[in-house]
Each structure stands twice: as C-alpha cells, then as structure tokens.
Amino acid sequence: MAALDQLAPLDELDRHLIDAFQRGLPLCERPFAAMAERVGASEAQVIERLQTLQQCQVLSRVGPVFDHARAGASLLAAVAVPDAERDRMAEVINRSPGVNHNYAREHDFNLWFVMTAADEGRLEARLDALEEELGVPVLRLPMLEGFHIDLGFPIPWAELEVS
C-alpha cells in the first residue's frame, strides 16, 4: 500500500507527537516548546518533525479545528439523481458557491454535500437557487444536536509496520 512507504520513516518521536497532541495542544506562548518539553525533544526538532509530517500528509495540519455550525451556517444536503446524470449534477453542485464537501454515496440519495453560508438566510437562498438549477428537490438535514466525545483515534502503529 502506497501510504506505508510514506509512513516507514515515522519514529518514536513522530508517534509520540501524534498520539499526545491529536486531541489538543497547549495555547501557551511557545506551544512547540511546550510540546517539546513533554516529549523530551527540542523546540526546533518538534517544529521540523511537524513540518515533515505535514509534508507527507500524515498530519493534515497543526491548528484549530472549527465547529462549522458555530462559525457560520452550514447544512448537510442530499439529492437523488439518475446515475447517468450524476456526474453532470455533481459538477453543478461543486460550482455552486458555499459547497465544501460533495460525496457520491450508494443510495437513492446518491449525492451528499455540505452547503455553507455566512448566515441562515443566505444558506436557504443558496439551497433554493441550487434546487432550481438542479431541478430536483434537495433534502435538507441541518444538525439539530451534536453528540461529541472526541476521543480521537487510536493509531494502529503496529499494524502499519507490518508488510
């Protein structure tokens, strides 16, 4: 598997950084120095490792994870379109302002996307406009309640090494 090539050079320090800080890092003046102290490395080492981990996409970023629902209005939406039209419809959705995710899924509702806007009024307006352009009803599934525990994921280091 291609990903393993990239993961091969990960060592103790890399793993320690990911395991220890995927659920949060201190918002102190010198966060990378604080991380360094915790993992027994220097600040420069930590910064260099984080850069490398980002470059090989083991980390998608080091930074804030925003709650989309609180930083603007957003909504999960779906449409059911004929398979033959799916790609064309997907293009229309992707071009539509405010769409930030779009997945084809195996169901009658076969296109699933997230629509965002600065506020609720604009969100509805965008969905109405898209609905008209697509010519099919858009299933609107706003989040009513979020159940968050955020345990992070146990990274299967041992399994990744095999092969």
Partner: protein, 181 residues
C-alpha cells in the same frame, strides 16, 4: 422577530456567536493550519496588526465558546490506516435519542454523531453516525455493535458508503456577513 443587535433565530445567532471582524480574520488565517515557527501566534497576528498575546487570547475565547473544538495536530486518518468510512443513518425512537446519541459518540471509530430531522416518507433516519475503520469489514462490525447498542429503540438503519469524493475542502469563511435584518 429580531432586533438588529440581538438576532433571536437560533441558527442566525450562531453567526454572531461573539465573533467580531478580527476573530473572523483569525479563522481565515488559521483554518489551513498554524505557521510552524516558534511564535505562531505572533506570526498569525502580524498582518492583522495584533500581537501574539491578543491572538492567543482570542483563540482561547473561541475555544471556550466552542467555535474552536480544539487546537491540535490533526492526523490524516486515511494516511494512518483508517481507509474505510461509512456514513450510517439510523431511525431511532425520539424518546431515547439523547441518551443513545451520547453512548454512540463514545464508541471507538465514531467521529461524528448528530441528530438531524426526518423527512417522511422518503427519509426516516434521524441519527447520523460517521464510522471509520481499517477495512469495510471493520466498519460493518462497528455498525453491528451499534445496532446492538441501540436495540429496540432503532427501527431501521443503513450504511451509505462513499463511492467517490467529488469535492472536499475545509471550512471557508471568506467574508463577514452583513448585519442581521
């Protein structure tokens, strides 16, 4: 009904969740990640005319209010072996959904767990649970465990695998919204 200083609709209120122009500018400046330098706060603040302490205080405030869930090293789970994911949707008895939603969210492999509205008759599902596993078989066994946990409170469920990612970008907050009407 709402007055300009205090929008009363719950969804509109999220927009003005105590965020001002500078907070929005900070979201835009950090949503793709912090600069990996010894003083990331100072580096982020400089073009905005803020010093590092002010940036840090604002980030802390956004974290306290829930706009920021956490500031973290964010792993790319796909790269780390979680190659299978399934959006599972469940038709759960409304009387028990809060208790069950919390229990479901605590299960390993669950990244998101949300209550959403049903749209009958075509869409009877009110609980959305995103599952991540190292294989499709693992996702299926997670779903099976969920079904057992939900028991009689669940009438029906589906696993919707993604067959293609057609677009994926992070949060994009480009402009400040206008004042509420």
């Amino acid at each position: 009904m709402s007055v300009s200083t205090c929008p009363s609709e719950p969804m509109a209120a999220t927009v003005s969740d105590g965020l001002d122009d500078l907070d929005r500018a900070l979201i835009v400046a950090t949503q793709a990640g912090l600069p990996l330098v010894p003083d990331p706060w100072g580096a982020v603040g400089k073009p905005l005319g803020l010093d590092g302490n002010e940036v840090r205080a604002r980030m802390q405030r956004m974290q306290d209010s829930g706009v920021i869930r956490r500031v973290a090293a964010v792993p790319n789970h796909y790269r780390l072996g979680y190659v299978a994911n399934g959006m599972t949707v469940w038709n759960v008895d409304d009387a028990h959904i809060q208790r069950l939603g919390r229990e479901v969210a605590a299960i390993t492999g669950v990244s998101h767990c949300y209550r959403r509205p049903r749209h009958l008759p075509e869409w009877p599902y009110n609980l959305f649970v995103m599952l991540h596993g190292r294989s499709q078989a693992e996702v299926e066994s997670q779903a099976e465990a969920l079904r057992e946990l939900l028991g009689d409170a669940c009438r029906d469920h589906r696993i919707l695998y993604s067959s293609r990612i057609l677009k994926k970008t992070g949060l994009r907050l480009a402009r400040r919204p206008g004042p509420p009407r």
